[in-house]
């Protein structure tokens, strides 16, 4: 599996660390209900199909990436920098 890092170009999967669903980007505010935190931390759509998840280019540029890909075919549809600023 290869991801095209927006900074570094196409790289082997072994350069990346996987975190989880892109849900982790939507951190509830400090006053959010307990159920919002439960959803944020634990519950997942977990689709058999297109999903978005978070990868860290650990053995590379150290960018956090949001990857749009298919969990059935492993097709990579898009790779975006979480913080933007991709070259």
């Amino acid at each position: 599996m290869r991801l095209t890092c927006p900074f570094c170009g196409p790289r082997d999967r072994r350069e990346f660390h996987y975190y989880g669903a892109a849900d982790y980007l939507n951190r509830p505010g400090p006053e959010a209900a307990a159920s919002a935190w439960d959803d944020y931390l634990h519950n997942r759509d977990n689709p058999a199909g297109v999903t978005q998840d978070l990868w860290y280019h650990e053995q590379g540029c150290a960018a956090w990436l949001k990857v749009t890909r298919n969990t059935v075919t492993h097709e990579i549809l898009a790779v975006d920098a979480v913080a933007g600023g991709a070259a």
């Binding site: 599996m1 290869r2 505010g29 307990a34 860290y56 979480v82 913080a83 933007g84």
Partner: protein, 972 residues
Amino acid sequence: MRIDSKGRIDRSRPLTFVFDGTSYAGFKGDTLASALMANNVRVVGRSFKYHRPRGILTAGSEEPNALVEVLGPSNQTPNTRATMQELFEGLVARSQNRWPSLGLDLLEVNDLAAPFLSAGFYYKTFMWPRRLWEGLYEPLIRRAAGLGRLSGKHDEGTYEKAWAHCDLLVIGAGPAGLMAALTAARAGVDVILCDESSEPGGRLLSDEGAIDGLPAADWVAGVLAEMASLPNLRLMTRTTVTGAYDDGTFGALERVGLHRRPRPNLPRECFWRIVAKRSILAAGALERAIAFENNDRPGVMMASALSTYLNRYGVVPGKRIALFANTDSARNTARSLMAAGVEVAAIIDPREDAAEEPGTTVHRGAVVARARGRMGLREITIRKGASETRLSVDCLGVSGGWNPTLHLTCHMNGRPRWSADLAAFVPNDGAIPGMLVAGAANGSFSTHGCLAAGAEAARASLAALGMAAPMAALPQAEDAPYAIAPLWQVPTKKRAWLDFANDVTTKDVALSAQEGFTSVEHMKRYTTQGMAPDQGKNSNVAALAVLADATGRGIPETGTTTFRPPFAPVSIAAMGAGGRGAGFAPQRFLTSDRASRDRHAPMIEAGLWYRPSYFPKPGETTWRESCDREVMMVRSSVGVTDVSTLGKIDIQGPDAGRFLDFVYTNTFSTLPVGRVRYGLMLREDGHVLDDGTCARLGETHWLMTTTTAAAGLVMRHLDFVHQAFCADWQVRFTSVTEGWAQFAVAGPRARDLITSALGRAPGLPFMGCSDVTVQGIAGRLFRISFSGEEGYEIAVPTRYGEALFRDLIARAETMGGGPYGMEALNVLRIEKGFITHAEIHGRTTACDIGMEKMVSAKKDCIGKAAAARPGMTGPEREQLVGLKPLTDSPITAGAHLFAQGAELTRENSAGYVTSVGYSPLLKSHLALAFLKNGRARHGETIRLVDRLRDIDVLCSVTGPVFHDPEGEKLRA
């Protein structure tokens, strides 16, 4: 038997080799199989289950029978395909799965007991009495099963892994692959052409055909010559593409040194990861067998293999050969044999309309009903209608048609489809993104068809790469249509083999259907068909067809066949190259490493680092003696230890304080410049991630310290929090762990030592920090302590680390101090109740370790919300306490805690011990432990029980801080 004038072997280079203790002669260019055949060795192996004598069936990596152990100078390689093992001078091989010898194998008794060993028999018996399973039945089964032997010795061979990148990967260098690679390379793209064999050409080397009027092998030579002139084409022979993975990544195994005597540093095998923008699978096709009674006798083999042995190796396995085939391809074999002067006694062709063949008798509409000859074929029975005739032969070539070598197209869950015309599975387009399948692998079986398909696949690949390919004239070659009348089995009441390697017969498949295992997956799993070293290459399709027959369904309704990586088995050593010994993970060395080793300190692993365990002095015979001395040294004078392994993250920017407030539970933005604060970091799920100190070096400049274990984790965490939640904050962080050598100096005389080393008094309050000049070098000084004594950490650029360490311990020794290691460091921190990852092990909350007050109520921070869940706090949870045994008894980490008098059950376990050490200061063993509601139980007596090590000790529960609980020494 050799045929003069035939073959591609080098008769000028004779070689000797040994098989089963007997020395034989062969030639350069032989395989072990061809050389054994030339020496008229007919039985080369024993079958898996029935231990039947077996001969060579094929000429390729799919060989199910001729598996041998190859013996090297220091080790042996089991299950080596004699058909793939190239001969070299001094090769030594041995047959396997037989006892005592290949000729006399006592386990052949299984063959007589076959009626009781039908498919899945073991699921129905050996159940009583239960204890005899592990004691008797299973050991017997295990000993009888298996094939070759590993030596049990470490594999000291040399292996490597490598990467290769290209625009186009062509898999297989037969007519389709050569044509594809040549077409693409001429257009200028980077091409890698892999072929499993030692010599490119594929079937063009095995069959006597013509291309452009030249013998096919000459055409191949011409193509190779042109390829050699193209720098953008890389030909990799002896290289099997073993797996297709995502995004154009392929695994491939190159046999680098297996065909020659070992040489220093020359790898035996190389496992390649090939990354290709496009690929063409041109792996050809595999001939398949027909099941009939005793079709596994030595001398029964694939018709196409006969051609290969004759034309590539100049050898035939018999004097009087018959062919049994339902396609025309075996006719080429017959003609080659006859042209070479070998008697072809008959061709048995089940097709009623089969053509005559000059020079031999064709039995049309007939089948071979059985073979005879336990140690080598003597006779076949030809059945036509109700009549049977016997024919004396010593070899039978069989062809049941061809299966495209589409295995790689299944590796990404692609399923092939059934072609009724070819009576074979063919690959579906797009099964592997970017891959086209060409030639026989796609069901084009004529030479012309292969050449045309190879060229076309190259053009399509070039177009996908954005390149135009000029049309070139195709070489002229035969274009015979493929005609087949499917025939999978000849009915028999006896056994007819489908899977030679696992001894699966048509009866087993029928029994599987009879018992309701009618799904093809059930059948395979029940009979073990397809699970042997040939991975079902020889039997999957036929077994499916036989199952379809048995269940009265068509083949497409019965199911499909699939293959998983690897295409051909790959050694663990090749895919694990580099992992041997210390190669498994990088080693990280401290600048003080040499100085510590000079002092005979045993070095222990701390993550990837090596740290000194203790520094033995003359006369000390145990680690405890050294440890006790080092602890007392720190408590009474001064000790020095290397703490450079701790993570150091430099944090700069106007928003740094705000950022630290967000990632730490406590507040940092209010810390004055020149001061250090202890901080606690949570995971977002509310458990403790890490702890450490953070120093404010300047108004917008901070230095965070992490534990050794969590350094990488924390860096990743900070990057995530910043990039995901506050990317616009003016703050950046950079790891500076590697840039600084940092030493802890601790003890009542620590200040004296620092004063001596700096040439001035440190002048720092507890938890203060400043820039310093250390003997002319710019460094940093922190007044922090992990021991409970007055402590400093002094840091200099890494290049000066060794010098500073040696300098500090030399100065310390003049004060009655010296270096101390991890053991003493651990005792010191236990005495002081400081935690490590033994306590913050991932299930610990701030509350559990008594730090709930460090979670600021005034601000949000990572983990705060989740830490408020009801299950995360409360007296039912285990809380950090100290334990002191009531008697002078050793105690152990990992012991559990029980109320006195409570039965030792899971339900009664009230906690467990995380860290222990012997305190020479308090002259007692001490422990840190987690105890349910522990903070309310100080003063209680609790029972510590380690049933693994027979320890049962009463302890008093205390606070976790044993030494100087008020911290007076720290602040002195």
